[in-house]
Symmetry: C2
Subunit: 114 residues, 2 copies
Amino acid sequence: MKNPEIFIKSSEIAWEDLGDGLSRQILGRDSSLMVVRVRFEKGSVGAKHSHPHRQVSYIESGAFEVEIDCKKQVLRSGDSFYVPPDTEHGAVPLQDSVIIDVFNPARDDFLRKS
Amino acid sequence: MKNPEIFIKSSEIAWEDLGDGLSRQILGRDSSLMVVRVRFEKGSVGAKHSHPHRQVSYIESGAFEVEIDCKKQVLRSGDSFYVPPDTEHGAVPLQDSVIIDVFNPARDDFLRKS
């Protein structure tokens, strides 16, 4: 991997359209840490999935019904959640919402797709 | 460390007063990943320092003059920055501002203080 970017301006990063009302920006990162901003339109779905990376997510705006390991909770702007490695999780936005997803290690699979 | 919290509600987490116009909430975390929300009042200073943890920060609101390894840049809401391990960095808010700081590994020193 080339040297990580130090200063990351949102206006200079494209929003990657993931389809079905979801889009994302990959923000600061190196091989061990990656921060991703994801925009959910109301009616979209963050489908349940799992990955070996641990994850913390921070709800920047809006609200979600979050499911982690078969437990559900409604979380709103300012709330966060933790996903252990290899644990099924998903999030359904209750309105237009933005979330900050943080991964350790980095989601190299996101870079191959983009 | 006990099992990490899965769902973290902002309203249930105390703001720790760090003095001099700075306060923080420790959000989702395990031993390898920690997300911290820091509120800076205008006139406060995130003094230059370094630590062995890599860091990505995301500006939730406001604006900062950020200095990393002797390079300065003004960053605003939606922007982010990456701090390599053991690299001196600091941030001076240009107005009341909130930042999301992400660390790998976790900042155990924050837990000992709180």
